[in-house]
Amino acid sequence: MTRPLWLLALLFPTLQACKIACHLPGQHTSVHDTIAKKQHSLPLSSRLFPESTTQINSKQTIPVRWESPSRDFFVHKRIPHLKRYPCSGCHDDKMRYDSPERFRATHGDILLKHASPGTLQCQSCHQRKNMDQLALPAGGSTSFDHAHQLCASCHQSQARDWAGGAHGKRISFWYGPRTLESCTSCHNPHQPLFPKKWPKIRYRPFHPHKARSNR
């Protein structure tokens, strides 16, 4: 009868095991729970990274308001990056299209591949009268710095994503006042699709000795 008493010795390790089990991995926490728990309603101090505020919000940007002040952001100015701006330097306030030869000589690098062929032409976007301004389809004009306003006239969902954060790029900093690349910093407005090119680098897996890879 006394025999199975030694089994009692197992009690202690069992209790210990239960204790240990509490520390084992396995209790999975959802990242969304973590966000809900730790989320705070206000952005962090801009003093955390002084350089982000000083470097970016310089004279190179313009502010944009989207829907609510909490979504305000900045956009890189485009005009400083335009090589032959101001256009009025040649165009004396009017757009002229004399001949294909003349066009090739002056703007031969421009090949319009935007939307289906024939949909757009120069004056769809460029103001006829004042060449230093862009023409809005609904009438009126805007500066080259505000090219996004023109783009958004047609590409509304992209504009919404751009203002929200799912399209386009922030510049350098995830933190601080949002400063975005303008539409035309990434897209060539005349050929907005990204071009074909060779990848920057090749994947060269490390194969010690004779290990082979083939896919």
Binding site: H23, S45, H146, W174, P199, P205
Partner: protein
């Protein structure tokens, strides 16, 4: 058109950030404080705005490992001065010094002593602020002695109130691999083996599946190829990282801002974490890594892109040396198509939160319960 009217345009000339952009001031993070003593939270809300902001409490002990860490910290600094470990350490340094004196060269002496101290240093997690400063000084000095470009190694802690998240737009990525190149340069990846943290896959349209069964990770031709999509993987900084649980020596852990890091000097190279990672995100140094001196990125973090040695693991850290400075990771900054979105998951106004709220997102192998903080989405 009503959408476009929502844009308001400020003056195109000079612009100073308007007053509402000066955010409520939190005290700067205690950069090298190991224990991260809670910033005096009373002064945190001193900003004029009537904010109801709750400053995050960095001292909250909510995971067992933090409890361990706390216990270890207490142990590391005994009230009565010197610990047994330190005694042992000093003794060994003494022995090393004697040996070096015998060899008769002061440079060797210093090097030997530095190497001994490096060998007997603690796990980064349990180091005091002073010990962290000391090891950084030793590492910088040792690099100098090896005639390498002098690194500046940070020990910045996680910023309170930040949880990093990443989103990848599959319909935007064109497979240019600018991100991969930027990552290699930024993170001082081994050039000899061609180590890459980011893997880019080319997948034929219609054959896309989350198991990447028909993905080509070795493509090299003009991109984007017709009829193909591109998808990148890297470390997803899981909320429940399986690699962390399996490490026998606690050389890898999840920081408070969600980044999974490795203490390269503590890793013993058993590669158990490599087996445990369901995303093939971890790399091993199969031999001494090589980075040409001229290409070394000297801005480094102890847990990030500092010099590794042979026989240890390494991985993507969302460029911890950049992200803790408020910068985007190198891959996100280099991406020419804007396919990479990075930000603070705890900030409801961040881009990453916009993506989560407005796009149809998915993560790889969600069935494993690892809760990656890396989402894929399509336009």
């Amino acid at each position: 058109m009503s959408r476009t009217k929502a844009f308001l345009f400020g003056q195109t000339a000079e612009h100073q950030p308007p007053e509402e952009y000066t955010y409520p001031l939190l005290p700067p993070p205690q950069s090298t404080q190991a224990a991260s003593a809670s910033p005096s939270s009373t002064s945190a809300c001193a900003a004029p705005s009537s904010c109801g902001c709750q400053p995050p409490k960095p001292t909250a002990v909510d995971t067992p490992y933090k409890a361990l860490l706390k216990a270890d910290l207490q142990e590391a600094e005994p009230a009565d001065g010197i610990s047994r470990r330190e005694m042992l350490q000093h003794l060994l340094i003494g022995v090393a010094a004697t040996a070096a004196v015998a060899s008769g060269c002061s440079e060797n002496l210093e090097k030997g002593s530095l190497n001994w101290e490096e060998y007997f240093k603690k796990n980064y997690r349990v180091m005091t602020a002073q010990e962290r400063t000391d090891t950084v000084q030793r590492l910088e000095r040792l690099a100098q002695m090896r005639n390498e470009k002098k690194p500046s190694i940070q020990t910045k802690n996680a910023i309170p109130g930040v949880l990093y998240g990443y989103a990848f737009n599959i319909s935007k990525c064109k497979g240019y691999m600018d991100c991969v190149e930027a990552c290699i340069k930024e993170n001082n990846l081994d050039r000899k083996s061609g180590m890459q943290y980011i893997r880019m896959f080319e997948i034929e349209k219609g054959k896309f599946n989350v198991n990447l069964d028909h993905a080509d990770g070795t493509y090299h031709h003009e991109v984007p190829a017709a009829g193909h999509v591109y998808m990148g993987t890297q470390c997803f900084q899981c909320e429940n990282p399986p690699c962390v649980a399996v490490c026998p020596v606690g050389a890898t852990w999840k920081e408070d801002d969600g980044i999974v890091v490795i203490d390269y000097d503590w890793c013993i190279g058993c590669r158990y974490c490599q087996s445990a990672c369901p995303y093939w995100a971890r790399r091993f140094n199969w031999h001494e890594p090589v980075v040409p001196n001229t290409e070394v990125n000297p801005i480094q973090h102890y847990l990030g892109n500092r010099k590794r040695k042979k026989g240890v693991m390494e991985k993507c850290t969302f460029c911890i040396q950049r992200s803790r400075d408020g910068k985007l990771p190198a891959c996100a900054e280099a991406c020419p198509t804007g396919a990479r979105v990075f930000g603070n998951l705890l900030d409801p106004n961040s881009e990453i939160r916009y993506v989560l709220a407005n796009k149809k997102v998915f993560r790889l192998k969600e069935d494993l319960g690892t809760e990656p903080k890396f989402w894929y989405f399509m336009d």
